[in-house]
């Protein structure tokens, strides 16, 4: 089967104006301006199979949004090949546009002073969707997202979470098979985030849609994306399973133990690295392959009431990954 999305050696470079601080410097820049080239995306290659859910991770300014904009045809690549659903995105053909959707958590398409239902109706006209299929899709999206009467209130009266739900519905009315989601849960509370996540997964499973998601909330990625692509400074630094990423960067487990009495931190030396002790709980970090041996020893030596084993939190994995790549880059610079 052909991949749904294929990107090979994608580059996107910009020329930006250097603006130094201060009045004198500003006056000087009236006459002469310095430009420098920014490589927002600097040679990225990956492909996504139909129906896959891929998390796109990276620190701010890594090139995530730029890549999504290239994939949706809003930006033209400086160099490299991009194919989405058999189309070249930059041509922005009607058939291509009807295949994809782009949801940006910080931008909206809903008309501010009209109810979302009017935006749905407008999109029905624009995407040329038959009335029966439109009604069917709306009914389905409404029940998944529990839209209810939200769609008939003016958008400005909706809360941020309600607006995001309607925003998603508006973006999916034409049943796109490729979804680009740029920070779809930004600013939402925890329960709304999980509602949105569940919905996205439901849509993906129902329609076999391919999706690429960027998010700062690692929970989004953990819940939705079996595969992650990590970009840093325009370059690909990891592409593969989420689990493998975690075990590669942090080949240690977190072991949390609760005892029936207060913990004496010194007694735990020799059981791996003590991350924290608090009251009756202790958190250890142990190498993967020694985990079971250490746990057996601990169970023998202490009165353990409760035990949990986890991978290191994704946030920590990511920050470690980025600091490693930064260190590597600095070494390369000198």
């Amino acid at each position: 089967m052909l991949p749904m999305i294929s990107v090979s050696d994608l580059h996107k470079h910009y020329r930006v104006h250097n603006r130094p601080p201060g009045v004198m410097a500003a006056l000087k820049s009236l006459v002469h301006r310095d430009y420098k080239e920014v490589r927002a995306v600097d040679g990225i290659t990956f492909s996504v199979e139909p129906g896959e859910r891929v998390g796109f991770l990276g620190p701010n300014g890594a090139g995530k949004t730029t890549t999504l904009k290239v994939l949706s045809g809003l930006l033209h690549p400086t160099r490299g090949q991009v194919r989405v659903g058999g189309f070249t995105p930059k041509d922005r053909r009607d058939a291509f546009l009807s295949t994809i959707t782009l949801v940006m958590g910080q931008k909206q398409q809903l008309m501010w002073d009209l109810p979302p239902s009017e935006t749905f109706e407008l999109n029905r006209g624009i995407y040329d969707i038959s009335r029966s299929r439109f009604n069917e899709t709306i009914a389905e999206l409404s029940s998944w997202l529990e839209l209810g009467s939200l769609v008939s209130k003016p958008t400005r009266q909706l809360s941020l979470g309600e607006r995001m739900k309607c925003e998603l519905a508006a973006a999916l009315i034409h049943r796109p098979s490729v979804l680009f989601l740029d920070e779809p849960t930004i600013g939402l509370d925890v329960s709304m985030q999980s509602t949105i996540r569940a919905f996205i997964k439901q849509y993906n499973e129902r329609y076999g849609a391919t999706l690429i998601l960027t998010s700062h909330y690692m929970d989004d990625v953990t819940a939705l994306c079996p595969r992650v692509v990590v970009v840093d400074r325009g370059k690909l630094s990891y592409d593969g399973g989420l689990e493998e990423l975690v075990t590669r960067i942090r080949p240690e487990k977190r072991v949390m133990l609760r005892l029936d009495r207060d913990v004496d931190a010194s007694a735990w030396e020799g059981f791996g690295k003590v991350v924290s002790t608090e009251g009756r709980s202790v958190v250890l970090q142990v190498p993967n392959e020694q985990a079971s041996a250490i746990i057996t020893r601990a169970l023998d030596a202490f009165p353990v009431e409760d035990l949990t084993i986890e991978n290191a939190p994704l946030e920590e994995v990511m920050s470690e990954l980025f600091s490693r790549s930064r260190a590597a880059a600095e070494e390369g610079d000198t």
Partner: protein
């Protein structure tokens, strides 16, 4: 983007855009109040004409002229330049570009959808004008009114296409709205908005004849206040549509180059 799709989508777009225009009716009324310049000019020129008429303009003719100006301005004005500037800067343009309909068609549709609201203001003003100046001031030839309709369409197109052309500059410049200010200043002087063009000295009038501004406002006003016979009106409308074609070309080029830049740099 196929024309067939656009035509099929049009009724829905018009309907929804009309609802949107309705939702902004308060803002719209304020905007109507801001276009009271013709009434202020009417006060000025009535003061001038109070002792003796100016050319063929007595107080009645000035009243007919400036009330017509108000009506034509209401029905033919365009806000495309400001809207495009806003949308490019706030990322709304990206959303539009991802829809399978050409953004310029949707801008045009939004303008048309606001027309009913504008008629709500224009029709009473027309009734007042009729009551004040009397029907005898108006041309009685139906053909003239047919030509007038063509001149209104042309006037709207000149305004809209200019707006689009300037709006496309916002892909390149942050201050494209200022270019619109310059256009407006020229429009005020050379369109017949502040005074009937015929009052200008003939040397200047010849220059104005070769600028688009007069065809954007003055021409329909002149036709509806009976300044032309059939042949004269037809000849002027032909020149007007020449400008329409010219601006159509300009707007197309501006859009293409603007989008090219947008695709290179993003919004």
């Amino acid at each position: 983007m196929s024309l067939r799709n656009t035509v099929r989508a049009m009724p829905v777009i018009l309907k929804v855009s009309f609802s949107e225009a309705l939702a902004y009716r308060a803002e719209f009324m304020i905007w109507v109040l801001t276009t009271t310049m013709p009434l202020i000019m009417l006060a000025l020129w009535s003061a001038v004409a109070s002792e003796a008429p100016v050319g063929r303009f007595g107080q009645t003719q000035f009243t007919a002229y400036f009330l017509s100006t108000f009506i034509v301005r209401q029905l033919t004005s365009s806000w495309a330049a400001w809207q495009m500037n806003y949308e490019v800067r706030h990322g709304v343009m990206s959303m539009r570009l991802l829809k399978p309909i050409h953004p310029l068609w949707s801008y045009a549709a939004e303008h048309w959808a606001a027309l009913p609201m504008r008629l709500v203001v224009a029709i009473p003003m027309a009734a007042i004008a009729l009551a004040v100046v009397g029907a005898r001031q108006l041309p009685s030839d139906p053909a003239i009114w047919g030509i007038w309709c063509a001149s209104m369409a042309g006037a709207w197109l000149i305004g809209f296409l200019t707006g689009v052309t300037v709006g496309c500059l916002s892909f390149h410049l942050e201050s494209s709205v200022k270019v619109m200010d310059v256009w407006f200043a020229l429009f005020f002087m050379a369109s017949g908005y502040l005074f009937p063009i015929v009052l200008l000295p003939s040397a200047i009038r010849h220059v104005v004849d070769w600028l688009p501004f007069r065809y954007q406002l003055g021409l329909p006003v002149e036709i509806m206040t009976g300044a032309y016979d059939r042949a004269g009106a037809l000849w002027m409308v032909a020149r007007q549509w020449g400008f329409v074609l010219l601006l159509l070309g300009l707007a197309t080029i501006a859009w293409r180059t603007g989008i090219k830049r947008f695709e290179a740099y993003g919004g």
